[in-house]
Subunit: 205 residues, 4 copies
DNA sequence: CATGAATGAGTGTTCATTCAT
DNA sequence: AATGAATGAACACTCATTCAT
């Protein structure tokens, strides 16, 4: 996933895992700094220090500062992807209701693990449009396949694309909202249940 | 490079309005720059240049760079607010279905006017958590009042908050998505119709 | 002579002379630093400090570090140019011997004024080939015109180009050498006299 | 990117020669980089890469970056030295005219082999004053010895130093100029012939 | 109020050099 | 001897902000 970077002089790493460790150390450091003081306060030297590596090593793995943020988003997206894929395979043979419920679970799981990070990633860290687009495509494919067995209930194969589109966007929106912005008086459990019901009704409408 | 615009529009009106014009010129310039080259390429001097005012004047109206972005968001939010308020009052006495339909219309109207800007505002321009929170509160109040007449159909007064929460987030998400990310094969009209149906079913579930 | 620099935001200076002063302050500072510690020790911040201006101002007048060195060379070349032009006009109607003698005088004058600088400019400060080429062209034109009245003595008009070429390069080389590298036992006066004789004989050969 | 050259040429010869090969590989790499993108773009890591050796090996043979450039100049100077020494010995017993002609030949031979390199070495690669001085001393000695047999024709033994000084500088200047900067309309042969005549006349004056 | 030249702290990035393997 | 990953001091350059005019 990492590109060979702009310089022609960059060579491949000897140990794949060492590199992975360093990259993760850097990304984790960015998260810490992000929480402590926001994007605009983040500097590459600060990242290096917080990650416990030299600034030179940061530039060994990332061509520039932007790439670090991109990688952070990518890592997050991959996690969500993985979770949703698992949830889908787990409820592959079950009823539609279970599928939606599991997906909602997954979405919430992904954002409950580190709600602050999820919020920051969403609102502060610049996520170039392309990346987001690519992600929503991948997700869309995933959901279309997951909905396929329930096609007849959803208005036929011809409408699958639209259903997956609605499902994806509602999941994402309500997944975030339920964790981060639900009314104070409402519990996570209850909000989740209602959101699930709403989404289910929505795509079956 | 300097444009003549300066002397043409300035006369008559009291300072209040002159200020307003300058502020708008600045915000419009920011939008232009944003579209041309992204947030990270925006500089205060660049803004002044693009707005046809001096950098000093920019600082007359905004305490610092951040404030410019905040104002940009606020202006956008106010527009959305105004549109939604109108839509709500227009369908105050109608059925729930009409209300949701009108709200969806409003949301799409707000984003169709300048979809690129809507996307940029959402993904690139840092929107400090507070501002977003405040907006969603105002929107939430608006929607709660709009839903109040339909309380019995929505599970009683006790559930109004939750319904407004679900409605607000689905509106926002699908409003954006329908304009910016709908499957290529689907028309705006049709996507809108289906999204409206989905939301309606969702909050009635 | 100064180009508008790479940024689109650069504006023209209000007072031509203020700019000139600052530019000269910067170039003089570079010379001081050059003498004190060599090219490789020169930093843009060091230049700003030594010139008594802010680093920002340096970048107001020069697009980058290289441009400062280029300007330094240009200023030197212009000085030499001016001196030689004067010498040529002073001996326009005199014999060839006087012309060569005056030119040698001029060359030496140009390098005696600040021999250390002349040596540094020649050996340390990178002078991109183009600049040098352009200068030698200008000089070549100058010399060709100066030699024109003596054409018959120099083998005819057809050979003027070649004569000017030989003259220019010998002048430059011996001008430098006489000031900077003459044998210790030889006085400047005497070296100059002999060099002049040599050049004269050379172009008349 | 890594070339196989390594294992092919290395065997047999003692370490002395292995070192010599590596050093030459490095210097040749520098020349290539120099031509491709100028001094300021040269980095030690880039040199190692281009030479097909590790950066560690570069530092095995050169204490620092400067030393690489010094070595490059030295290698060039040695070549010129060797050529001139040969030319001098070849025309030791001939007339002065032949000597000068042969020297000019040598100078041109040295620069015609790689004119681009000659120009770069002269204008771009920083040649610390000491090195240049040392070279011109060695050259001066050489020329003084070569001129000694012709002392009477050159104004006596007392003037030999001055004659050698003039000869050396004219040779160097016209040698460069004839190859790199002669007027477009003039052939190398003709320019060389005229330059030789000029120099001869110059030192005999 | 407007202007825009001047400021300089702070930033991203490079690259000569080291040293454990 | 050779390697090349790691280092981090140092640098060129930017740009938000100020303030004299």
């Amino acid at each position: 996933m990492r590109k060979p970077a702009k310089s022609a002089f960059r060579r491949r790493r000897p140990t794949q895992s060492r590199a992975h460790e360093t990259v993760n150390a850097i990304l984790d450091a960015v998260i810490r700094l992000l929480k402590r003081s926001g994007v605009s306060a983040i500097t590459t030297n600060g990242i290096a220090e917080a990650a416990g590596v030299s600034i030179g090593s940061v530039y060994q793995y990332f061509p520039d500062k932007r790439a670090i943020f991109v990688a952070l988003h990518e890592r997050h997206i991959e996690q969500v992807d993985r979770i949703l894929e698992r949830k889908i395979s787990e409820s592959a043979s079950g009823p539609l209701k279970q599928l939606v419920s599991e997906l909602m679970d997954g979405m919430i799981e992904a954002h409950t693990f580190d709600p602050e990070l999820a919020a920051l990633l969403d609102s502060e860290v610049p996520h170039r449009a392309d990346g987001a687009k690519e992600f929503s495509c991948r997700l869309h494919e995933l959901l279309r396949k997951a909905l396929a067995p329930h096609a007849e209930r959803l208005g036929g194969t011809g409408k699958l694309d639209l259903r997956a589109f609605l499902l994806g966007n509602m999941l994402d929106a309500l997944g975030h909202a339920v964790v981060l912005r639900r009314p104070r008086a409402v519990s996570l459990r209850y909000a989740k249940m209602e959101a699930t019901k709403a989404i289910l009704a929505g795509i079956e409408s």
